[in-house]
Symmetry: C2
Subunit: 344 residues, 2 copies
C-alpha cells in the first residue's frame, strides 16, 4: 500500500507534511504502508535532515512548482501543471500509488482530481465529504462546497457515495443512514431542489431517514448528511465558527479571576477530551468522492498528527472497494427510468 | 401606543402570554404603552384570575378559534380566519393597534400578515429577520425561512429592510453594515443567486461589506446578514443546534465527579451571563419585515419574559419610521434601471 502525499500543500508545508509522513510510516509501516512525497526533492531532504526526520520508507517524486490558495484552481491544468499537487495526482492516475493526500488548495484539488485522475463513470460531479463531530459520533457532510449549484440527481449521487463510504470505511456493516438537509421534516418542505431530491432519495433503496433540520445535524440525525455544496459549505464553516466562539467564551469565563482559574485547572483534563472530540483533524480529512481513485483533502492548517491521520484514512479508503461500489450504484441509478418508480 | 398580542400563540399560551403582557404593562405602562390581547376572552379572564395576574391596562378582543403548528399556514385566511392570530392581524390592519406580537405558527403569521395586513408597496416578499447572538453584540439574519426560493432582487430588498431596521431600531445612528452569506469572500464566489445579489448590493448605496463566510457570522461580520430563506433557516437552526450540543457537553464535563462539580459551582455565576448572551429570547423575537405594519414573531416556546421583551421591541419598531423608510427604499430601487449602474 503506497500513499502519495503532496509535500507542499497547506500552511505548514513542507515541514509538518514530512513529519506526518514519517509518523505514518513509523506507525503503520509494519502493515505494508509506505509514502511517496511529491515536491521539491532537495528542499524535502534538507528540511528532513535539519529536523532529524528519517526518510526511511519514504520515496520522493520531484516537482518544482507549488500551487497556492490564491492561484486559480484551473491553473493546476496549465500554468501550474508542474506543481507538487498535479504531480501527485498524475502518479495516482498512473497507478504509482493507491491513494493521494493533500492539504493544499481545495479548488485546485477538485479541479486536478476531476481532470487528471478523472471521475468514476457516470458521476456528474465529485463531492467533498468531511467528517464532522456529532454529539455521539462523527458524521459525514456531502457536499461541503465542491458544487455550489446542484441538480437533484447530483444530491442522489452524493447520497450513494456518502452511504457507501460510511458503511464500508467507518461503519459497522449496517447500511449508513442518510438525511437530506431541509427547513422542516415534512416531505412537502424545502425549495425545488429539496422537493425533487427528496423524491429521488425516497425511492433510492438507501437507508434514507428523510429531511433533517439543521438543528439536528450536530445530534447525529444521520450518518450521511446530504446538501448542495453551497448549503454544505455554510454548515461546515458555521459549525467551526460557532464552536470557536463558544470555546473563546468559555476560556474567557475561566480567565475571569483566581477562583475561575482554579476551576479551570480542575476541569482541564476533561475539557481536553471534549476539545479532541470537537477537533475534526482527528478524523484525518475529507474524502473527495466520485473520483476514480482515493483522494483525501486535509485541512489547510494540518499539522503532523493530522497528516498522519489523513494517511491512515487514505489507506483505509484504498483497502475497501468503495470506488467499485460507487461505480455500480451510479450505473444502476442511471439505468432506472427517472420518471417511473421502480417499486410500483 | 397599543400593542396587539396573540394570547393563544405558542407552546405556553395563554398563561405565559398573559403574564408577559402584564409584565410589559407594569414596566412600560408609564410610557403610554397598553396591550390588546386576542383570543378566548372567558379563558383569558379565568387564567388571569386563577394566577393572580392583573388585567389593568390590558384590553381583550375575543376570538374563539386557535391556529396550531400543524394547521396549513394558508388556513388562517379560510378555515381558521376566526383564530386569535387572524383577529390580531385584522385589528392591526384596521389601525386598532400600533404593532402585533405572536408566538404562534411562523408560516401562518407570514401568510396572515402578507394577506391581511398586506405588504409594503413594491416589496416582493416579507422576510423574517431574527436577532442572533454574536460574539460582541446581536446581529440580524434576513431571511431566516420565509422564502426558500429567492431571486437576487429579493435579497437586495432583504438587505434594505434589514439595514433600515438595524440602523433605526438597534443602531447608534451609523448605517448598519450588510454582508451576503457566501462560500468565500471574493466577488467571484457563490452560485448564480449570490453572484447576481452581490452585484446588486455592490451598487445599492447600502453599507455593504461584501461576502461573508459562515465561519465569520457569529463573529459579527456584519450587522445585517443577508441570505435566501433556505440558507438562513439552516444558519438559524444550526446555531441553535451547535450551541445546544456545546452546552450539554460542558454540563456533562462539570458533572463528571466531585472535583468538577465543585469547579462548576465556582464558575456558575459567569456561565449564567454567558447563557443569557446566547439566549435569543432576550432580544424579544424577530420582526417580519416588508409588511405595512410592525409584526413581531416570538419563539414558539416563549415564556413571560420573552413575551414582555417582544412587546418592548414591537413598541420600539412602531415608534421609528422603519416602514416609511422601507417603502421609500423599495420605490427608489424599482425606479432604477436594473441593467444600468446609477453611479456611472
Amino acid at each position: 500500500m503506497r500513499i502519495i502525499v503532496d509535500a507542499f500543500g497547506g500552511d505548514n508545508a513542507p515541514l509538518e507534511i514530512i513529519k506526518g509522513a514519517a509518523l505514518a510510516v513509523a506507525e503503520y509501516g509494519s502493515t505494508g504502508l509506505d509514502v511517496l512525497l511529491t515536491g521539491r526533492e532537495a528542499e524535502i531532504r534538507r528540511v528532513a535532515a535539519q529536523n532529524g526526520i528519517s526518510l526511511d520508507g519514504i520515496a520522493i517524486a520531484n516537482a518544482d512548482d507549488v500551487i497556492s490558495m490564491e492561484d486559480e484552481p484551473r491553473s493546476i491544468l496549465k500554468e501550474h501543471k508542474g506543481c507538487s499537487m498535479a504531480e501527485g495526482l498524475r502518479r495516482l492516475a498512473a497507478g504509482e500509488g493507491d491513494a493521494f493526500v493533500s492539504a493544499g488548495s481545495t479548488g485546485a484539488l477538485i479541479m486536478g482530481a476531476t481532470f487528471i485522475v478523472k471521475r468514476i463513470k457516470g458521476v456528474s460531479r465529485p463531492a467533498l465529504a468531511p467528517l464532522l463531530p456529532g454529539s455521539r459520533k462523527p458524521f459525514m457532510l456531502i457536499d461541503s462546497g465542491a458544487n455550489v449549484d446542484c441538480r437533484p440527481e447530483m444530491l442522489l449521487q452524493f447520497a450513494h457515495m456518502g452511504s457507501i463510504y460510511m458503511t464500508n470505511v467507518l461503519g459497522d456493516g449496517q447500511p449508513a443512514t442518510v438525511g437530506l438537509v431541509n427547513v422542516g421534516t415534512e416531505d412537502t418542505k424545502g425549495g425545488e431542489l429539496q422537493l425533487a431530491a427528496y423524491a429521488l432519495l425516497k425511492k433510492s433503496g438507501l437507508n434514507f431517514v428523510g429531511n433533517v433540520e439543521a438543528r439536528e445535524i450536530p445530534h447525529n440525525a444521520a450518518d450521511v448528511i446530504v446538501a448542495d455544496g453551497f448549503t454544505g459549505n455554510v454548515i461546515l464553516k458555521l459549525m467551526e465558527g460557532v464552536a470557536d466562539t463558544f470555546m473563546k467564551s468559555i476560556k474567557g469565563i475561566f480567565m475571569t479571576n483566581a477562583r475561575t482559574k482554579l476551576a479551570a485547572l480542575m476541569v482541564k483534563p476533561y475539557l481536553k477530551g471534549f476539545k479532541k472530540q470537537m477537533d475534526t483533524s482527528e478524523y484525518g480529512g475529507a474524502p473527495l468522492l466520485g473520483v476514480s481513485k482515493p483522494v483525501i483533502k486535509t485541512h489547510g492548517n494540518a499539522k503532523a498528527d493530522s497528516v498522519k491521520n489523513a494517511i491512515r484514512v487514505a489507506a483505509e479508503f484504498a483497502r475497501k472497494d468503495v470506488i467499485d461500489q460507487i461505480a455500480a450504484a451510479v450505473q444502476q441509478d442511471a439505468a432506472q427510468p427517472s420518471d417511473n418508480s421502480s417499486d410500483n
